[in-house]
Amino acid sequence: MSIVDLTSMGKSQTELRKEINGQLSKLQDEISDYCFQCAKCTAGCEAHKLLELEPHKMVALLKRGLIDEMVNSDIIWTCMSCFKCRERCPQRVAPVEILFALKNMAVVSGKQIPGKYTAMLQSILSIGLIQDVQEVTTRDNKTMKRDELGLPSLSKPCDPAKFQVGLTKIAVEKV
């Protein structure tokens, strides 16, 4: 009949839950319901080590339909999209995809996006990449340039204006 979170009096947002699960099943073939809370995702989460993002808890809240709580939380923006959780999940649930869905919902609902994201967005619109990576630090703590590692230089859009129009079109269609 009903399930209520007695702390926040929040109720299950069944429709939203269905929508996110729908997106997930398209991306990963699986939905959050299969998660059995082993927390392997959190154990390996790079953001957890720095910022206490707990992906398994995100999945648990989604299973329970408590979505507003997550959309309104800043924690969803701390995911660094390393995709480790997606790679390693024994039940093929991808917490990272849930976070993408939640981020999109936050944007749609007009929530303030953290400044770093705007800068990243700008970078994508101009060069097609979040970062213009020219140097890396190796495990021996040496700084190496791309050509020293035998990597080709990063390609950039030849017509930045046309590229921006195209990208915006895709973004609009997808969202």
Binding site: Y34, L61, L66, Q91
Partner: protein, 652 residues
């Protein structure tokens, strides 16, 4: 002067790390009558056995002491070794320096000293051990299976197909047991009746099976190879030879639909003339003497309605109970389990609300042959529930109730979720409160995953209470996956109670001299290596009477028990262990105390000679008569007072 050899085992480091085996061997070699003393890492290995046999030949030994583990472990092994070496096997004595020494003491010096005492006293006894000969007894080739559930059915069919005659005794009017109450079985969702009924029919028709239903075991005498089992045939008040199972009597019964049906777990009603379920074997009606108006009050209208209705004239109110003796060589006990009465956990409100039910009650609601014809209706208002909540581990894993895991609760609840989703549709809310989901069997984990995908609200936690709000039940649950306290309002609560031994398990155990483990289930002789054996030779256990288990494991264990029985019954003769009681005829006064105390009826009074005798086939060597005899005339072979006093004298 005797020639005794002492053999000290290291048992890897089990003994050697806490007992100085080197010093012990040296010590033993200096004892009187000991002509050789040796040590080896594993005396029970082939090399160890050869060492003993070779030493017997080389030193012309006439007695052997092995200092090793408990005699329950390897006495038998070493008796064979000694026998192969040419010494009478009963001239072997074990000094238990593992369980009673190295394993239980910490101080190496003191342990070694104790081991020396143990070996010294074993040598003292070995000096006086008599050579004994085993005798044989004829084996009755028939078997008895007690309990007609799936375990009993499987064991009976296996034995009958092996060519043995089997008596299958069931106290209810039909065989089938718990499995016949189930609708579907996990994880394959096989229809329970569809896979069980053919087996029941096979039992009913098998030329080698004598099916005795509505019969109770009242006593067991004898021992392996020759048991006499007393059974009580309860009167059915229906002549089974005439009854065709047409059902006219049940339709006519004045109490029709007024007695709570045991088979339906109280969810449905029956009359006093009844058949528990449509696929019953035998397909015969029974008149319930506890309720029948004619049998309880002597009057049922003008004439008993069932008797009038029966065309076959099968109703016979003059039937009396019958006592029958069955002679068998071995017994399989498959008496099954009970569910814990959830009233023992008052907080779940089982006694307060009709809408709080157990898994087995839900099973009868789901079953197409059940009281609702398979429709899921909530008991209070006979309406379809919009929300059903399962609570797992009710009384299981609970130090105040049942400390054990019921092993089938998780899977049976998951199965119910699947079936309810199928029957009630996608819109019905299904909640499941669990501590851990244990899906350990073949195909179980895959089934669990399937159920997680069925919009099941899984809450990891156990509610503290179920509040009866009249038209619904309210549950507060703290879900550890979200760290949140939730309030669930639900139409129906299904409790998954612990599996417990049958309420009369203790009485039954006494009847058969079986042992119960701490939880009350029957105890197997060894948890790993003799899982179907009991401590009574010739009696085996299978199924849930030994401990909770699913159908798969029950059937495997039943087949195992049948094969253990076949090992005995396929022999014409059995060797009898000669370590039993004997009588010193000169000392015996014929007082008969031993006859009274013997639990196996192995002691008899010879009226003519005025002395007591021992029936060697029945005596188990328990020692009761030896302790009871006032004139020291009862002797336990190779456990004599003289031998024991010599052991004590030697170490004091």
């Amino acid at each position: 002067m005797r020639r005794i050899g002492v053999f000290v085992c290291h048992c890897g480091i089990n003994i050697a790390q806490n007992v100085d085996v080197e010093a012990l061997t040296k010590y033993a070699s200096k004892l009187d009558d000991v002509v050789v003393s040796k040590q080896y890492k594993y005396m029970c290995s082939d090399v160890g056995a050869t060492l003993i046999k070779d030493s017997i030949k080389e030193h012309q030994l006439d007695g052997v002491v092995v200092a090793c583990c408990s005699p329950r472990m390897h006495e038998h092994t070493f008796r064979e070794v000694v026998n192969d070496g040419g010494v009478n096997p009963y001239r072997l004595e074990i000094a238990n320096i593992r369980e009673q020494c190295s394993w239980v003491h910490g101080d190496r010096g003191k342990s070694t000293e104790k081991a020396k005492f143990l070996v010294r006293s074993a040598v003292a006894k070995a000096k006086l051990l008599e050579p004994l000969e085993t005798s044989t007894l004829e084996v009755n080739p028939d078997a008895l299976v007690i309990g007609g559930g799936i375990a009993g059915i499987q064991a009976s069919l296996d034995l009958a197909n092996d060519g043995f005659k089997v008596y299958l005794v069931e106290r209810e009017p039909s065989i089938g047991g718990r499995m016949s109450q189930l609708d579907k079985t996990f994880p394959t969702l096989d229809c329970s009746s569809c896979i069980l009924t053919p087996k029941m029919m096979e039992v009913g028709n098998h030329p080698n099976i004598d099916l005795l239903t509505y019969v109770e075991v009242t006593g067991v005498e004898g021992s392996i190879g020759n048991y006499t089992v007393k059974v009580r045939k309860k009167p059915r008040y229906v002549d089974v030879d005439k009854c065709t199972g047409c059902g006219d009597c049940a339709a006519a019964c004045r109490l029709k639909g007024r007695i709570s049906s045991e088979f339906d777990m109280g969810m449905g009603k029956r009359g006093a003339a009844y058949m528990p379920f449509p696929q019953a074997v035998p397909l015969k009606y029974t008149i319930d003497a506890e309720h029948c108006l004619f049998l309880t009050r002597g009057k049922c209208g003008d004439k008993p309605a069932c008797r009038e209705a029966c065309v076959q004239k099968a109703i016979d109110f003059d039937q009396k109970e019958e006592l029958v003796d069955l002679k068998v060589g071995a017994i399989v006990v498959t008496t099954g389990y009970d569910l814990l009465n959830p009233e023992d956990l008052y907080e779940y409100g089982y006694a307060v609300s009709p809408d709080v039910i157990t898994t087995l009650e839900l099973e009868r609601l789901i079953s197409s042959s059940g009281p609702t014809k398979g429709e899921i209706l909530r008991p209070s208002d006979q309406q379809k529930p919009k929300s059903v909540t399962f609570i797992l581990c009710v009384g299981s894993r609970d130090e105040t109730q049942c400390t054990w895991c019921c092993r089938i609760g998780c899977m049976s609840a998951l199965k119910h979720v699947y079936l309810l989703r199928e029957k009630l549709g996608d819109d019905v809310e299904i909640n499941l409160c669990y501590t851990d989901i244990r899906s350990y069997g073949k195909g179980y984990e895959e089934f669990y995953r399937k159920v997680r995908g069925l919009k099941t609200n899984m809450f990891r936690g156990i509610p503290s209470e179920v509040q009866n709000m009249g038209d619904h039940q309210k549950i507060d649950i703290f879900d550890t996956t979200t760290n949140k306290l939730f309030e669930i309002k639900t139409d129906m609560v299904v409790l998954v109670p612990a599996l417990v031994p049958r309420s009369d398990a203790a009485d039954f155990a006494r009847l058969l001299h079986l042992t119960q483990s701490g939880d009350g289930f029957f105890l197997e002789a060894h948890p790993k290596l003799r899982p179907m054996d009991t401590f009574v030779n010739g009696i085996f256990i299978a199924g849930c009477c030994q401990g909770p288990k699913d159908i798969q494991d029950t059937v495997s264990q039943a087949s195992g028990a049948a094969s253990r029985v076949a090992t005995i019954l396929s022999k014409k003769e059995l060797e009898i262990d000669p370590l039993i009681a004997a009588v010193d005829e000169e000392a015996c006064t014929g007082c008969g105390i031993c006859v009274d105390v013997c639990p196996y009826e192995a002691r008899v009074l010879n009226e003519k000679a005025k002395i007591a005798e021992v029936n060697e086939a029945l005596c188990t060597g328990c020692g009761a008569c030896i302790a009871a005899c006032p004139s020291n005339a009862s002797i336990h072979k190779n456990f004599t007072k003289k031998q024991f006093l010599n052991m004590v004298d030697d170490i004091l």
